[in-house]
Subunit: 262 residues, 2 copies
């Protein structure tokens, strides 16, 4: 399976690649779920449709990454088993995406901070020596360009809006800021994948991300929070209690219909 | 506004046309909302994506019908004000669509019974002398053809599946049956619109609907319930308590962000 996708002369740690595919898939899955919670609750009908579409993009990405994770793992688990039959400590998503959807400003600020990373990230991942990851990234990159544009516009509109919308948006930014460090984190496994040309070095994305963030915050008349201590947990599966609640809901139907595929 | 859409020689009761547009828009809106509640909860990832897409189709239809309702009403209300700023007694949706989403079998049986009506209904509405309604119907007809195919396949799969899935599906059918009569209901206003060639006579759809239902139930090894007393309420705005709960949720954000359009 790997042979078709990765240069065989590389010494790839299959477990590290599996964990990477989970990290990418789980992050998209959980954020897609959080966006889908807006369905029927957005403040205007067009935005209801827009948020659902963003959520569908992310769930589609998750499906691709988790299918690949199952292939890499080689134990016969498909994307549904990986999405629905694991417990919280086995998830590798960024902590940022598991936070409750919050108010509309929180949702948009999160989408902005995340997309401002994901767009340049996928642009680099299109060059990955892992051809499957490169192909998924090529599709996702187009989607994230739209997510970034859409969420940037909203952050500006809300930040530079009424007094209340400005305050809500600044509060959201302050709450989310300590979760942004995790996107740039690496560990020994990821470093090995970076050296092998499979993962891209997130440090190389820092400057692009900073510029996107500063530009939008300035237009939105928002203040960039001080960067200090940062949350961490995705790489080791240490999650907030919010993930367990989300999974309990998300998995309840699958577990009630175990025979769905007969 | 009407002049462009409806033959002016007709004596159209503007209020009756407004109520019809609400009936069509509200029914799509509420069912779209119920489908969107599955986002992140469907038993398999593909079905999560599929149900969200069905929901988006319906919310798109609702948007078109409610925009038109606002134009017909002529009091300056747009689709967002109609969707979010009315109370339950002002909604004209079929009772069937406001019932809670229930289990997966319930959702699929409802979608099937509804789509089996909506497809031939929109096919006839494409001939409406109201050109706006005809145009919305032409787009919706394609969507409902897919909804009917998708839900039919699931009803067969669930009904002709395991003992448990069969029982759940038969129970769903039994619970929903008394709500099917309302699709065929008319009152004096609708009859006037039928005579004017604007609305289609639902009686003319009965045979097609019966045939779709009988075919699928037979393949699904399900028993068609006896037809007796039928629920009624959509035409007069008499709703179950479920609608109030749904609206409370759906409208909470809009009401928290009244200044969203600045």
């Amino acid at each position: 399976m790997l042979a078709a996708n990765v240069d065989e002369t590389l010494e790839i740690d299959r477990e590290a690649l599996f964990q990477l595919a989970l990290r990418l898939g789980d992050t998209s899955l959980i954020l897609g779920h959080r966006l889908s919670e807006w369905a029927g609750h957005a403040p205007i009908l067009d935005e209801d449709i827009a948020l659902s579409n963003l959520g569908l993009d992310l769930i589609g990405q998750a499906r691709s990454f988790l299918t690949y994770a199952g292939e890499v793992e080689g134990r016969g688990r498909d994307e549904d088993q990986l999405a629905y039959m694991r417990n919280a400590p086995e998830y590798r998503n960024l902590l940022m995406v598991e936070l409750p959807r919050g108010d509309f400003a929180f949702t948009m600020v999160r989408q902005f901070l995340f997309s401002a990373f994901q767009l340049p990230f996928y642009q680099q991942m299109m060059q990955s020596r892992d051809k499957t990851l490169a192909a998924i990234a090529a599709k996702a990159e187009k989607e994230m360009a739209y997510h970034l544009r859409h969420s940037s516009q909203w952050v500006v509109r809300l930040g530079d809006g009424t007094k209340e919308s400005h305050e809500r948006t600044q509060n959201a930014l302050n709450s989310l800021w300590t979760y942004t460090g995790e996107m740039f984190e690496t560990d020994a496994s990821l470093k090995a994948l970076i050296e092998a040309g499979i993962y891209c070095d997130p440090a190389s994305i820092r400057e692009t991300w900073n510029k996107s963030v500063d530009d939008v915050l300035q237009q939105a008349t928002l203040t960039r929070p001080e960067t200090g201590w940062m949350q961490s947990g995705a790489l080791t599966g240490r999650h907030s209690e919010h993930l367990s609640h989300l999974l309990a809901e998300m998995q309840s139907v699958q577990r009630a219909y175990p025979g769905l595929k007969w």
